[in-house]
């Protein structure tokens, strides 16, 4: 079911995110975070829609603090978008990430 979203850790960041051939959406999530729980099914649904065209990854913030700090991520959930090894576009964060907005952001990433 969640096959379209893979979890990575900080050690895989360079290869899986920066080195990816397709655009990447990276979700920093936490436990005890209702907005993260709310985002998960939307993230998976959009990941499924864009399967093969963009890579959807998630990283557990508490277990990868240094990476979060390095990217200046201080809130969960935070979606960071990458293309060609560089962060692009505006991050999405917090309770109100809509499925339609995420979809539009990924479409913009692909153009």
């Amino acid at each position: 079911m969640a096959a379209s979203v893979e979890e990575i850790n900080a050690a895989q960041y360079e290869e899986r995110v920066l080195g990816a051939e397709t655009p990447v959406v990276l979700d920093f999530f936490s436990t005890e975070c209702p907005p993260c729980e709310a985002l998960a099914p939307k993230f998976e649904a959009v990941a499924e829609q864009f399967a093969g065209r963009a890579r959807f990854l998630k990283v557990f913030r508490q277990g990868n603090r240094e990476l979060a700090t390095q990217l200046g991520v201080t809130g969960s959930p935070t979606l960071v978008f990458f293309k060609g090894g560089r962060e692009v576009g505006a991050r999405m964060t917090g309770e109100d990430i809509k499925r339609s907005a995420l979809k539009s952001a990924v479409e913009a990433l692909l153009t």
């Binding site: 200046g72 809130g75 309770e95 809509k98 499925r99 339609s100």
Partner: protein, 306 residues
């Protein structure tokens, strides 16, 4: 073929879930939809101390889950993380399109979309959202272990969440525009005696500064109009709420405050469309007043459907 319900409740906070409990118990086919998981504002409230029936504090997330389970026990269907992508609430049979992929119908709709945190509206806020600025202590407090942070506001949420944040942060400075707090006396005295909490009364935030992440909060002393930059690791904003009226604004005239006016029976101007909970024009917004609204809306809808 569209799926048909008697009642669709939009928003799974205390008002919506209570409406669902009453509607489902009355054997109405009841659907609750929410863009998030159930609980509304309660799900990210650390502790609830004033909801009757719980002599000990209960975590907001647990109370949310309990509301949802109770509604489901009576047969209400709760759909989580669903977005309404089109709607027509004016006709006798109301329709809602979900996630651009399916349409549901109902003769009665109860709108309980509540309110969301009010943004400060100062420069840098959008830039540093999630990069140092947060509106949810439960979600993001743990990011600030050992850090020096600021809380903006002086009402119940600001003071209570500041106390919660002392579990993680090394210091919490509350910035409040007035010379005293508007919160309940019990929390105020707890905050004022907490060694980790400092207070900056009579100051307002003016801007956020930083390179990639937030580094400083610029405040203005209201009396002297003097501005200063306070180095900070993070800022939590609790300055009240704004109603979520995107959906209803198309059908009803909003009150000047932005909230939705209803009758005592939670009716809006549109027959079969009710509004309940924090979205309504009213003086007090509590979990207890939301569940009362939800009860009344469901009972009124039940009469309307008969």
């Amino acid at each position: 073929m569209n799926e048909r319900y008697d009642v669709v409740v939009i928003g799974a906070g205390p008002a919506g879930l209570t409406a669902a409990i009453y509607a489902a118990r009355a054997r109405l086919r009841t659907l609750v939809i929410d863009e998030s998981i159930p609980g509304g504002q309660v799900k990210t409230t650390h502790k609830v101390s004033n909801y009757p029936g719980f002599p000990e504090d209960i975590h907001g997330s647990e109370l949310s889950l309990a509301f949802a389970r109770q509604a489901e026990r009576f047969g209400a269907k709760i759909r989580r993380s669903v977005e309404i992508t089109a709607h027509d609430l004016a006709p006798f049979v109301k329709t809602l399109e979900l996630d651009e992929s399916e349409t549901v119908e109902a003769r009665a709709v109860i709108v309980t979309t509540g309110a969301k945190p009010r943004p400060l509206g100062v420069p840098g806020e959008d830039t540093f959202k999630g990069r140092g600025i947060s509106y949810c202590a439960t979600c993001d407090g743990a990011y600030f272990e050992g850090k020096d942070i600021h809380v903006i506001g002086g009402g119940n949420s600001a003071v209570e969440e500041a106390l919660f944040l002392t579990q993680f942060a090394r210091s919490v400075t509350i910035v409040h525009q007035f010379e005293q707090f508007q919160a309940e006396p019990a929390s105020v005295s707890e905050a004022l005696t907490n060694p980790k909490i400092q207070v900056l009364f009579g100051h307002e935030p003016r801007a956020f500064h930083g390179e990639t992440a937030l580094e400083a909060l610029e405040v203005e002393a209201l009396r002297t109009q003097e501005r200063k930059r306070l180095p900070t690791d993070g800022v939590f904003v609790f300055i009240g709420m704004v109603p979520r009226t995107d959906l209803l604004a198309r059908y009803v005239k909003l009150a000047p405050s932005g909230y939705v006016k209803t009758t005592d029976d939670m009716e809006t101007e549109i027959p079969g469309v009710y509004a309940a909970g924090d979205i309504r024009v009213k003086r007090f917004r509590q979990i207890t007043t939301a569940v009362a609204d939800g009860t009344i809306a469901a009972l009124a809808a039940q009469k309307y459907l008969r």
